[in-house]
Symmetry: C4
Subunit: 213 residues, 4 copies
């Protein structure tokens, strides 16, 4: 029986496209205040009142950006992809391309009393879905050593998976936090994203000699 | 006389762009409930009422994703492209980039009585057009063995075309089903898409030794 | 003095991105009829009344698609690019990315009496700008033989420029036609696009042995 | 300890995507006049009244285009990227993808009395943020010679940084000018962009023998 495997070039190109579009579409939700709002309270004040939209924009941009950086880091270790990898990647892209929707929702309802809890919970659930999709992609990629480059260390790979699990527990906790305080929930998502930025051993990175050293 | 043939790199890059944008634009049709709707019935309930939009989003995402996976699989077999291939591919991209429109239409009218039939028929007709464009692209690609890699088996290629035909008969049937029940029609499109995901011998794939075996 | 020249890879990637987005954004102008319109006249009839939007969509899709095919054909002959090429290409992309605006305008005003003439003239002027940008790009590319592949024939290159000139005279004529009949103008743009599809010696293609012969 | 470095291919592909989308999304803010406006004053006149939108569109297109050209020029000198480069690049992309928002804001308020000053200041502040992000990216790239190609001259690199500084002083000055005259501010941004087009020794370009000479 034959098996179909392919280089990862087009998967990366398609994924880069979806990441780039999702991250850039976020700007469509920054709304220019109407002439009437500006006439009543001045444009500067009307813009200032939209801070939930800017905050949600910033956090979602950061999150998509970091997913991209880590996607990049993961596929730097990958030599070949097969159909299960294509579909696991598609599931991740589904969540990524969805992110502008909960972002818009949270921007609109961040200061809206009890509805803010619902909006924050939808946002947090999206992030949990993203974390689960990421862990699944990693599982599918590491199920077959032939898909990875030779210098990938299987032990580090198992360790990375455990750290994914920890991340998902945090995302699950933010769903609970949503029902306490929506703004705090968004701040925690920002903190989680920044934590992933500065992480010295990123979840998805295996021990590996750099080409220049 | 000279003939113009080119590598398939830019065709793939351009197609990946159109696929990625079409699949990501779908999110623009997930509408945040208005403050008034949320005030009347609560945000959670207002969001729940939008299930046709989520359902249509999910099915269309799956369909575009699978067209992309199969486009990827097809062009993995292609060595060179000429002008007829560029235009056959453009016809496929026309249908793909159109998909957000019938998706929006069906999301709006899925539960709207007799208008739901019209919306579902437009959606199904778009999928039929996609199937026909795909079969045409395959015909144009396989009309000249020089365009394909050497290891492509012409017999498997003819077989694949026959299976395209079967797929298009199914799409034609969904137009009929649209006038019976719109929601069932969308569910059948989901099932067809999932069938193509798990198909062990995808329509467009020829018998071929994998590079790693 | 040093001169900066670069490979054409990223110019092509960036251009493919702009082409792909402009061609896909066109779908945002296909408007789903409101519930009220559908209630008054039935969804099928309400959709039918939007034929100017479908017609404008189709013609603009075809035009952007063909510009892309020809852009592809041109850069297949190019070995290196310098800053003037980057900016001449940017001017072409400016017009391409603008096309969704006159398309939307013409879709809205195609049947609107005397305003239809204004809308058609804006559409035609955009196509003239596109033709002029294309000719300029070709001039900038062919001003220095070192930028092109060695097998490019300078005589065919001059001939191609003359044919660009003819194309632009046609586009100029459509501006005049706009003030007679807007629908006929759009039909002529469709015909011009189809003419460029089937042209056996495309304007921008030089005599050249194909790699496979 | 191992260090992670990667080729710059995917960073460029992702950045090209964001640039291409941000530059093409600008067209969504060119609004087709309503039927009522056209009926009252004629379509041609209604279109003419939208000149602030066309002006802002043109300047922002030019600015994003030139950032892209210079981004291209910078990464033509880069051999490898590491995580700090990925994040410095992400900060630049954040500003680039934001540009459609201040463009829309300025298009709406360019002729709106005292609110025009606020809109112009937001626009100018965005350009300052872009200039600072660019300088930061350059600093992060040049902090480690191993990331750059061997023929890059460190002295020219320091000189380039000084010229970045000058550019940012100009952007800072446009924030002040915003409170004098919004239209003049936009004109100065156009002039700055054109200056960067024609600059014979672009800020970011190092002395280097061209491959063809």
């Amino acid at each position: 029986m034959t098996r179909r495997v392919m280089g990862s070039g087009r998967l990366e190109a398609f994924s880069d496209g979806v990441f780039a579009i999702a991250i850039t579409l976020l700007v469509l939700d920054l709304v220019v205040p109407s002439r009437q709002e500006a006439a009543e309270q001045g444009l500067a004040h009307a813009l200032g009142q939209e801070w939930p939209a800017y905050f949600a924009y910033l956090v979602s941009f950061l999150i998509i950006g970091i997913i991209w950086v880590n996607h990049h880091t993961v596929f730097d270790k990958v030599r070949l992809v097969d159909r299960p990898v294509l579909f696991a990647n598609l599931a991740l892209l589904l969540v990524v391309s969805l992110i502008p929707f909960p972002t818009r929702l949270l921007a609109e309802y961040l200061t809206a009393g009890s509805d803010s809890h619902v909006a924050a919970a939808v946002y947090s659930a999206t992030m949990l879905a993203m974390g689960l999709a990421y862990a699944t992609l990693w599982l599918v990629l590491t199920r077959d050593a032939k898909l990875l480059h030779e210098d990938v260390d299987p032990r580090a790979s198992r360790l990375a998976l455990r750290r994914f699990g920890v991340g998902n527990v945090f995302y699950l906790a933010t769903i609970g936090l949503s029902f306490v305080n929506a703004t705090a929930t968004l701040a925690v998502h920002a903190a989680l994203a920044i934590y992933y930025c500065f992480d010295q051993l990123p979840l998805v990175t295996l021990a590996r000699k750099a080409p220049t050293e």
